[in-house]
């Protein structure tokens, strides 16, 4: 059966800088010997792990190795154009797949921290400053996701994620965690 390429990504709570890639291709093609992962931000930069000199990460072991974790590749929530290529031994690209993805684990993790704060201190529920900013955080995350899902618009998504990141990075002023 011919090879139909595809992949998925995920992030684990608590490890917001990491991305887990899973090869969900079906079928087979004996010519494919390697894969490459390109992660391009809205600014056009290619994101790679520390020590990588190319614009891509090598995903070896096709077809046996179906997952790879790229560690500490993100510094903040990022909207990205992700391309995975399936190549032969001569580095010819035989297949490729492009997805537009929002990696939001930093701000999602922060949102859960706020949830833990309010669970431990229920009086925060009456703090308008806390709640309004928590709702803004949620709205910014989901607006970014929406920009990608509806229009593959990583530029608009990144702006949304950046607003959420601002809330996170200035949390000491915006979330009265000691109320």
């Amino acid at each position: 059966m011919a090879l139909t390429v595809n992949f998925s990504t995920s992030q684990t709570p608590g490890s917001p800088g990491d991305i887990i890639f899973t090869d969900t291709s079906t079928g087979s093609d004996g010519s494919v010997t390697q894969r490459r992962i390109y992660i391009q931000s809205a600014a056009g930069d290619y994101l790679v792990e520390s020590g990588t000199s190319t614009q891509y990460e090598v995903w070896s072991g096709f077809p046996g190795t179906t997952t790879i974790t790229l560690e500490d590749i993100l510094e903040q929530d990022t909207a990205a154009r992700v391309v995975v290529q399936w190549l032969d031994v001569s580095n010819n690209v035989l297949y490729d797949k492009t997805q537009y993805i929002g990696f939001t684990a930093y701000n999602e993790d922060f949102d859960y921290e706020l949830t833990q704060n309010v669970a431990a201190n229920p009086l925060l529920v009456d703090d308008n400053n806390f709640w309004q900013n928590k709702l803004k955080l949620r709205t910014d995350i989901e607006s970014g996701n929406n920009a990608i899902e509806r229009a593959s618009d990583i530029a608009a998504a990144q702006q949304c994620y950046d607003r959420a990141t601002y809330l996170r990075e200035n949390s000491q002023y915006l979330f009265n965690a000691n109320a």
Partner: protein, 172 residues
């Protein structure tokens, strides 16, 4: 209330609270109009952790808070998930197979010389009986008639079955 149960009810509690707020606007009354957003904000954060690891040790506290935030809407939602989610399917109305045969000495529903039989499969239905191709009635002043008790399934004919007659009996 387990964490899993809370994960089931919070989305329902969210829309129940939103509906209640919408209804109260015409009736006045103090209500936190941001409650649905608060439930959503907390619910999505807890749901994400639950989906990643349902045994996360922070979940009991945050999920309980979520349930408390849902308040009375959480109770209503739990009723929705426990009792209002299923309806017994209607029993399909399967047509009952009619009887059609030539009266013989044995081997049929009614054999030669017999004048009554219980037809259990026809209980609850009305019955149409044709004898030698002629529809029969229950008027017992006629030379040929029948009776039918739809409660017990007792079917009687007069006169009794005669060898070689064509009987057609239908449930309707």
């Amino acid at each position: 209330m387990t964490v899993t149960q809370i994960m089931d009810i919070w989305p329902i509690a969210m829309y129940l609270s939103a509906n209640d707020i919408q209804n109260r606007r015409s009736n006045s009354g103090a209500v936190d109009i941001t409650l649905p957003q608060k439930i959503y904000s907390i619910g999505t954060a807890v749901q994400r952790i639950y989906d990643a690891d349902s045994t996360d040790d922070t979940l009991p506290q945050t999920a309980r808070y979520l349930y408390a935030l849902c308040g009375k809407y959480g109770l209503q939602a739990s009723v929705v998930t426990q009792t209002a989610g299923s309806v017994s399917p209607a029993t399909p109305n399967v047509p009952v197979v009619p009887y059609q045969f030539i009266v013989a000495a044995s081997g049929n529903l009614i054999n030669a010389g017999e004048s009554s039989v219980t037809i259990s499969a026809f209980i609850g239905f009305n019955l149409l009986f044709a004898r030698n191709g002629i529809p029969q009635s229950t008027v017992n002043t006629e030379p040929s008639y029948y009776s039918w008790d739809k409660e017990t399934g007792l079917f009687t004919i007069s006169p009794g079955a005669i060898l070689g007659e064509l009987f057609q009996i239908y449930a309707i």
